[in-house]
């Protein structure tokens, strides 16, 4: 009952071609760069990637796309300060895009983690993004039926982790990470600090260890925004 592994490479070794992979983060905050780069090194391809965005610059998800490993993106906002990688792949027809409103994306992921196969939301009613989806009226107002989202793997960036996988997050780097940790068959976490069991106050645990499979310490992790401002390219 110790979920610690020794390296990002070991942590992502089991990700196979064709896997559906949720990747935490919103822009650069909370993006598990070392896990993504280990996945690039590992070589899995034909991936479906779920993230709010679709990469920025030439690191992280953008690098994964640039290395032609991503068959499909499910995201709300495939734009960024430097979206050239996704934009070129998309306009060349090399990558599929499922565009989802941001709140619906978050709720679909949370539903996947909570065992809710479908729910209703007013979001997107009457728009192009609701086309083909069932509509039902509750209390006089129309709502769109949305389905859960699950993944084979989630790549998560946490601040502190204990050996059982209890997690905390740093500031707004929390974003999609806790709900993605719930929604994947195998949840892989990079934490800036691994603390002993009992090192996180039970009232301050954000993600309980039941949602976590593997934890690897990445002290002083790269921050995507800082990498991009420095013009970094991976590999």
């Amino acid at each position: 009952m110790d979920k610690r592994l020794t390296s990002p490479a070991e942590a992502v070794a089991g990700i196979k071609d064709g896997a559906v992979v949720m990747i935490g983060g919103f822009g650069g905050s909370g993006a598990p760069i070392e896990l993504i780069h280990a996945l690039i090194d590992q070589g899995a391809k034909d991936l479906t990637v779920i993230n709010n965005n679709a990469g920025n610059g030439h690191v992280g998800i953008a690098a994964l796309i640039e290395q032609k490993r991503v068959a499909k993106m499910i995201c709300s906002f495939p734009r960024s300060a430097d979206p050239v990688v996704f934009t070129e792949a998309y306009l060349a027809g090399q990558i599929e895009l499922e565009l989802v409103p941001q709140g619906t994306l978050a709720e679909r992921i949370r539903a996947g983690g909570a065992g809710i196969p479908a729910f209703y939301t007013p979001t997107s009613f009457g728009t192009d993004l609701a086309k083909g989806k069932p509509v039902e009226v509750f209390e006089g107002r129309p709502y769109v039926q949305e389905r859960w989202l699950k993944a084979d793997f989630a790549l998560i960036k946490a601040e502190a982790a204990d050996p059982h996988g209890n997690l905390t997050y740093r500031m707004a780097a929390r974003n999609f990470n806790p709900i993605m940790a719930m929604a994947a068959t195998t949840t892989i976490v990079q934490a800036s600090r691994i603390v002993p069991l009992g090192g996180i106050d039970p009232e301050q645990v954000v993600t309980p260890g039941i949602f976590v499979d593997h934890v690897v310490e990445v002290a002083k992790p790269a921050q995507e925004e800082e990498l991009n401002r420095a013009g970094a390219v991976y590999p």
Binding site: M1, G115, N166, G198, P202, P208, G209, I210
Partner: protein, 232 residues
Amino acid sequence: MSDVIDIEAIKLSNAQIAWRAAQDIEDGAYVNLGIGFPEMVAKFQPKGKQAIFHTENGVLDFGEAPAKGEEDWDCINAGKKAITIKPGTAFFHHADSFAMVRGGHLDVAILGAYQVAQNGDLANWSTGKGGVPAVGGAMDLVHGAKRVAVLTDHCTKKGEPKLLAACTMPLTGVGCVTRIYTSLAVVDVVDGGFVLREKIPAITLEALQAVTGAPLGTEGPVGELICPEELK
């Protein structure tokens, strides 16, 4: 009625049933134990196998009951009994707690039963006889856990079978039970039928079938169900 008398003499105690169930819990498994009898399972974790217990009211990986007089009543389990924290404990709210249950994150849920049907239907929340109905988390726990195990006397106090062709009491869940630990046997539910895995040596297969309300199939040899005598 001689069969019934024999069975009362030879059957396993609740502690022995709980002990047997505990032997199947893998190291690192996330486990929810139903209120009452199933809670005993925690006492019998085999050495070297560390289970992590979940309770519906928002606590994971809690510690043992505190000493009498040391209770903190803000730190309780779903049975409203006092528990303690230990290194690794996490608190969370009720919707997150049931996301763990219903989202398939538990490895095992262990529950009591009034009746279990050969297709895995479970009745454990209402005898259907009136009074104040109460369901708690039972209907949630039977969905989502990878294994749903039941602990039960093999027969009612009147000697009637609790393992049946079909439940007669109100259902808790449809086709949800995967394994039944009884006072006489270990029975799996496979493809709509009971499969006998183990029985106590003191009962014959024929006698066991006689107190079981649906056919007990077998797949290969039937193991001997032997539990520590000191738990009798």
